[in-house]
Symmetry: C2
Subunit: 355 residues, 2 copies
């Protein structure tokens, strides 16, 4: 089995290194191949997603991704900026289903800015559509307004759109995920304002007929953003579009107070996937051996489970992470008095040891 290793920028290299150590310690025969992506891709080959990197990602069975983005690339024209790498990988590989768990580890309950009674035991799964919506819809650009109240003025514009098969396939992923959990699914939209999301609601409702054992409810995005603050534990599985999912999944992750712990999977129709931590490249702390590698290590576990059919090895990693937390080891982002502060590499080594 071939795994593409794309560390990227900022803390990406350090955290992926630890996840690779964990993978290597499992005693399985993985072929790991590394390639530059994001700012590193631009630095090496003049493009955030170099041809060789895309080719590797395509031929691999799964992709372990670090993070992209660094200040030095901020002034590049948009098509060359680091985030184009992740957008390009999603689109080229058809990674339409983004699974982002927001879980509060009991040991880290204090890290949340929310009151313990509101978040203790939090365990939400957000399923975000990842290759459609206003993220990719054509046409888009800057033009002279062709009509409307500002006809003749310069305007920026984008197209929000979702086709029926796009909505169906993500709905199936969501209903099936809900079946494996509490059998409750919340579809988040803005059907009261947007044609795209009235259509979304209609199609999700149709797909629901195939999953009569799942309880479906629909919620507007503004209300969902409120309810995530008010009573997050009322949610179990949430499915939504690319744009709303971007916002909600980050908000939900932050509810736990420990985004450094949260993995994610982006899957295609055959469960091939890209796995990455939910956090970003944090260039301000890069190279200092203080970043938390656990989200990336847990992403590797998700990879074993979803793409490589190695559920047992995934469990081993998940349990090893629980063990190091129980031992009181903490990187700076989740440190509190009474625990032991460790660096990136120490944390990685502790997980390897706990396997």
């Amino acid at each position: 089995m071939k795994i593409a290793i794309l560390p990227g920028d900022g803390i990406g290299t350090e955290i992926v290194e630890q996840a690779v150590n964990v993978l290597n310690a499992l005693g399985e025969k993985f072929e790991l191949e590394t390639a530059p992506v994001g700012g590193a891709g631009y630095a090496a080959h003049g493009h955030p997603l170099p041809d060789g990197t895309l080719k590797l990602a395509k031929e691999a069975d799964a992709i372990l991704f670090g993070a992209v983005g660094d200040w030095q690339y901020d002034s590049l024209e948009r098509s060359l900026r680091p985030e184009q790498a992740i957008l390009g990988l999603r689109k080229h590989l058809g990674l339409f289903a983004n699974l982002r768990p927001a879980i509060l580890y009991p040991e880290l309950a204090n890290a949340s800015t929310l009151k313990p009674e509101v978040v203790s035991g939090l365990d939400i799964l957000i399923i975000r559509e990842l290759t459609g919506d206003v993220y990719f819809g054509q046409p888009r650009g800057v033009r002279t307004a062709p009509d409307g109240a500002f006809k003749g003025e310069r305007e920026g514009f984008d197209t929000m759109r979702y086709a029926e098969p796009e909505i169906r396939r993500i709905a199936h992923v969501a209903f099936q995920a809900a079946q494996k959990r509490s059998k409750r699914l919340t579809s988040v939209d803005k059907a009261n304002v947007l044609e795209t999301f009235q259509f979304w609601r209609d199609i999700v409702t149709e797909v629901h007929q195939e999953y009569p054992d799942v309880e479906l409810d629909h919620m507007y995005i503004d209300n969902a953003a409120m309810q995530l603050v008010r009573a997050p534990k009322k949610f179990d599985v949430i499915v939504t579009g690319n744009m709303f999912g971007d916002i909600l999944s980050d908000q939900a992750a932050m509810l736990t107070g420990s985004i450094g712990m949260l993995p994610s999977a982006s899957l295609d129709a055959n469960n091939k996937g890209l796995y990455e931590p939910s956090h970003g490249s944090a260039p301000d702390i890069a190279g200092k051996n203080i970043a938390n590698p656990l989200a990336t290590i847990l992403s590797a576990a998700m990879m074993l489970r979803f793409s490589l059919n190695k559920a047992e090895q995934a469990d081993r990693i998940d349990n090893a992470v629980k063990k190091v937390l129980a031992q009181g080891l903490r990187t700076a982002d989740i440190y509190e008095a009474g625990t032991t502060k460790v660096g990136t590499s120490e944390m990685g080594a502790a997980v390897v040891k706990a396997l």
Copy 2:
């Protein structure tokens, strides 16, 4: 001075009644005229925004609005549903600047689901553009996809667009609001993905040159949703588009735990405005005399301040509200042990008395 009173649906009638009582108690000569809107508009005249209501809103100096929406209207076709009334009023009256304060009253600090140290003293002003963006952009609808990977399939679509003058005018409102507060402004966009919001960022940056005394920073919407959870007090004034503003302003309101306290103003280019509570019509508690009228009463105060040039009377109302809170009076939504639970009309009467 003529004020259009549009109570709407659900708790709208009850809460607006209390605000009207407060206005009448000020000893000013206001001409108040009431008209049906939302579901009530549909019930009376077959349309959520009847011609007579729109005419009244146009000729009035200001509009006091309750809330719209009730289950019985949910199955109507979209163009007849209650929320079309508020969208129509915004568009027809050119109410492009929505000001939504998110303030945590010291007396209500416990109502928040966030830890006291994270939210105590919270005082954010969110400025949401209200007549543009994907809310109103044409074309939109359901069609056969003309191109792309799903060409030939049915799809829902909308157009996100912002013209330069639209961005300029809301930016001016925001910079001027920031000048009156801490001189810090955060513009929230998604410039890394959307052409519309790269354009937004460029124009806001240009307008900034006219306000060198204001510190401007740009933040992506996903990050803003996270930072509002992590460290909301770092924000002062936020400006953003219609869609992102819908989400962020509700999230910010909920941080306070007492959305029943939060007013809002929607202004046109001449400071004529529509004033409404930040919460909805809550049909489940309608007619029970338990809804909190304070958000509507505080909206009336905003109306006096922004549209009717009666800052002193606005202060009187604000102070009266503070006084009843200090007296320990609470409606059910903000009740806690040790305070006195009162109904909608008692709360309204207490504010009148405290004037």
